[in-house]
């Protein structure tokens, strides 16, 4: 008897299930972890990724690399997502979180192969995750916020730790000061969008500067702009969303002119409308006029005649920052322009930065804001610097809010690893093995730090294990001397929230991937692009 095959899904649908599927997912995740593995730590390397369009990105930031890689594997995408979430939540430690998740999965793999039920593994991992977070909270060191000096030292150390793995590591003292200064300027809420980062090509990194106020690039200007003054102290600032240009007041309107005399009056009427606007602005006492929309040549010359400064087509973001900084509000009409809706600043100035000219407002009374002007040799260079500074800023913000810190350089991971090992001895059942495995997985961070620096990882890890067993809580890898040291005393500090978030996210995604045992993927709409031909070796080459 021939049973006709039962076709349940459309032809070409990819289904795989059971243990092989879990293993396959785990392998995919490890390939991802391998892709960012070498970027970890002060001796980590960068990746150069060229997109199909020819745009090159050079980065050391885990989240950025994964984003640009354009990953399609469904399980592997989970890892990209946790990197993104770490980026959004904490801003730094994106590489570590991917690495940890990859390593957790790797440790879980033998157990899956031996047919331990995934749910048991998940339960054990969850439990261990909670315990680790508790442990971090328990051992993290609180810094008294009351003492401004101490706080500053804390913040600078955290920023420096974050920057040490980046391209700008050589200038980390310079930039960590700048980042802390920038964050200190902000108000209680520490809104990130109040720190503007502008890039000007040319100059060396050390030429970067922090402007206490708002700065933005000179906008497109019309004839007459050069005749305006470029410096005012205590100017009133009008922020507009109006086009100051001779134009048709209404689109699509049509005027029917009957006699020739009327012609002139229409022209005059149009001029009057514009001049009324300009006159109101002049009378309001504003000295600096900024608009999101173009400011035409007539207006430019009008202002030039009356010793006022104007800039049209100011980017929205910059205008908003100016508004928040200088007070006032963005006006959509000049009618009823009162002194209250004008902003003010101590000093307005146009300055030359490299090949560009910048409009700078200093000493803004209202909200606290600042702008970092980055200088650097190449475009990619500055982009990477911006990302690095972003990470550092996020870390400092986090540290301002949570004053607990732990030591970096693999110290906290080693301590957690020891803790889990000790703990597992007291547990009966399968969980004992699983928690030990997790403890082993945590060692990946110090191991990778050593590998990237070209040290003998086994040797260093043995030393670390011994120290931690003796109670040296903060011993971690010392990259400079190829040895171990007390990283808390060496000021390699990270906010504990970074680690808590990383471990929670890694555990969560591990559990998620382990709990999936079937993928059903619809065939691609456009067809083509099947699995690549066999015969290629396993492509996860270790570096060097």
């Amino acid at each position: 008897m021939m049973q006709p095959p039962i076709i349940l899904l459309k032809e070409g649908t990819d289904t795989s299930q059971g243990t092989p599927q879990i293993i396959s997912n785990v392998n995919a995740c490890q390939a991802i972890a391998d892709a960012v593995r070498t970027t970890l730590g002060p001796r980590g390397m960068d990746k150069l990724i060229v997109e199909t369009g020819g745009k090159a990105t050079i980065s050391n930031d885990g989240a950025t690399i994964l984003k640009t890689l354009d990953i399609v594997h469904p399980a592997a995408k989970t890892l990209v997502d946790i990197a993104k979430s770490q980026d959004a939540e904490v801003g730094d430690g994106t590489t570590s979180v991917v690495l940890l998740a990859g390593e957790f999965l790797k440790e879980a793999k033998p157990y899956i192969e031996e047919h331990v039920h995934p749910q048991i593994i998940i339960r054990a991992f969850r439990k261990a995750g909670c315990l680790m977070v508790q442990k971090i909270k328990e051992i993290s060191v609180k810094i008294k916020k009351d003492d401004p000096n101490e706080l500053r030292v804390l913040l600078e150390n955290c920023a420096a730790t974050s920057l040490s793995s980046k391209l700008v590591a050589a200038q980390k003292d310079f930039f960590s000061k700048m980042v802390v200064d920038a964050v200190m300027i902000l108000d209680e809420l520490l809104p990130l969008n109040m720190i503007g980062i502008k890039k000007v090509q040319g100059g060396a990194l050390e030429d970067s500067m922090l402007v206490d106020g708002v700065a933005f690039k000179k906008t497109f200007s019309y004839a007459g702009f050069e005749m305006q003054s470029k410096k005012y102290s205590n100017p009133k600032i009008a922020l507009l969303n109006i086009e100051l240009e001779l134009k048709a007041e209404k689109e699509n309107a049509e005027v029917r002119v009957n006699t020739v005399q009327e012609y002139q009056s229409i022209v005059d009427a149009e001029w009057t409308i514009l001049y009324d606007k300009l006159d109101t602005l002049y009378k309001s006492g504003a000295k600096v006029v900024l608009s999101k929309l173009p400011i035409g040549d007539v207006a430019t010359q009008y202002f030039a005649d009356r010793d006022m400064f104007c800039a049209g087509r100011v980017p929205d973001e910059d205008l908003r920052r100016t508004m928040k900084a200088c007070g006032g509000s963005i006006q959509t009409t000049v009618q009823g322009l009162s002194a209250g809706s004008l902003g003010t600043a101590d000093l307005f100035e146009e300055v030359q930065v490299g090949g560009e000219r910048y409009n700078v407002f200093k000493g803004c009374p209202q909200a606290k804001t600042c702008t970092i002007i980055l200088r650097g040799g190449a475009e990619q260079f500055m982009e990477e610097t911006e990302r690095s500074l972003h990470d550092a800023i996020m870390i400092v913000r986090r540290a301002m809010k949570n004053d607990a810190v732990v030591a970096g350089g693999g110290a906290i991971e080693m301590e957690l690893s020891r803790y889990l090992r000790d703990l597992s001895q007291t547990i009966a059942g399968k969980e004992q093995l699983l928690i030990t495995a997790l403890g082993k997985a945590l060692e990946v961070i110090p191991r990778q730090l050593c590998d990237n620096a070209g040290f003998d990882a086994t040797n260093i890890l043995n030393k670390l294990r011994q120290k931690h067993a003796e109670g040296g809580t903060w011993f971690g890898v010392n990259i400079m001397t190829e040895d171990i040291c007390d990283n808390f005393q060496a000021f390699v500090w990270e906010p504990s929230v970074v680690k808590i978030n990383a471990i929670t996210a890694a555990i969560e995604s591990t559990c998620l991937i382990l709990s999936v045992d079937e993928t059903i993927r619809n065939p691609r709409a456009e067809g083509g692009g099947g699995p690549p031909g066999a015969g290629r070796g396993r492509g996860r080459g270790r570096p060097m």
């Binding site: 150069l48 060229v50 990953i71 019309y222 004839a223 020739v260 012609y263 030039a304 690549p532």
Partner: protein, 540 residues
Amino acid sequence: MAGTGSIAFDEYGRPFIIVRDQENKTRLTGIEAHKSHILAAKSIANVLKTSLGPKGLDKMLVGPDGDLTITNDGATILSQMDVEHQIAKLMVQLSRSQDDEIGDGTTGVVVLAGALLEQAEQLLDRGIHPIRIADGYEIAAKVAVETLDKISERFEVDLKKPEPLIRLAMTTLGSKIINRCHRQMAEIAVNAILAVADLDRKDVDFELIKVEGKVGGKLEDTMLVKGVVIDKDMSHPQMPKVVKDAKMAILTCPFEPPKPKTKHKLDVTSVEDYHKLREYEISKFESMVQSVKDKGANLVICQWGFDDEANHLLLQKQLPAVRWVGGPEIELIAIATGGRIVPRFEELTPEKLGHAGIVRELTFGTTKERMLVIEECKNSRAVTIFIRGGNKMIVEEAKRSLHDALCVIRNLVRDDRVVFGGGAPEIACSLAVASAADEISTLEQYAVRSFSEALESIPLALAENSGHAPIHTLAEVKSRHVKEKNPRLGIDCLHRGSNDMKEQHVIETLMAKKQQLLLATQLVRMILKIDDVRVPSDGF
């Protein structure tokens, strides 16, 4: 190749795709990536090496449309080369950023970066970690910058004594094609800067210096106009060619009856109406011309055009006019003549007129091309350098060379410390870095020593380009540096028989040298830090 993307097989033999289109991407990792980068950077540096120094040679570049560029300016060569390789692109950006910031030394910075990478390659072969090499280079760069500070000398910027400045400009121009009229060009550059410089703020606004070029004549005919030169002529051939004591109305509105911006429609239904319209237009023209005349203007500079009728009317009323003058030029004229730009006729007042001693039209040789020169302006701060030359390439190259010279003088106005050129500072730094290397106890020692060797690449290239035996010459100068403790000794590129660059007046600004070192070191660090490259395969 280390592998193709992240393709992997699971234990059950099924391949899985992780990265989209991974089969189309090339991946280079580890030491291979480094080797490939260094090779790319080295080849870029080798292209430029022969352009370094006063005896450096030029490159001829043919663009996709067949347009020719002949230059020895590093930044220009690289930007025209249209390189494909990512690392090579970084080198191009490096030279551009030196160009943006300093304007000179664009070749030197690329040669230095290439040499640093070449040295790094040897260190990599010995198994030193790339980041430690970069760290060593940073240490060395710091030492070198300190040395530069030490050997720098102050340079008096005095408006009354431009002679030293001219010498300086001559150094920069020495390596350029226009060194035929070396001295003259240098004088022009210095005078231009001095006219514009704001010594209190220590700043020079480049927008006030315009460089115009016109093919024809000789390079020697190049001149500095204390005023504005515009590539326009009088709107009517019969208008006077010279206006003395000109009072200019600078208009940004066209000489025609104003039109409303709102859409409008005028129905002409009868002949009478038509006549009326015509009369209106004529009366409008007349009143416009009259109003300009009444305010005392004897020259009209207009941003827009005006039709033949208005043109004719202007001629009749003896009011010379220039039309279609671009925005930036209008602005320059306004600044130079102290006038105000007027957006409409109603606003014109006598105070808003610009004044110039003389406005004249220049004609060149047998060509019909004309240019307007506005001189003896009220405000002499706007100047124009007017370049003549046998062909377009020469004129363009002269423009670039003068730009370099202008930048150098500006930098000196900003920061008056100088070092001596001809490879002297590099040799001094190299020696200082080499001695610093011996005091470093860690692995970085090797990198620092390599840095000092890389620094020697500049004097080496200089010597080679000027026909000396490079190694022999360098060794000699180096030993004299140590013996005589004289940091001013460099390569005698011009065969003048003296190695003392102070005597030869070969001067470079401290700022430019420092910038070169820092930029090159940072770029090298960036390149060394990359160990993994993914590109679409067709990219190469």
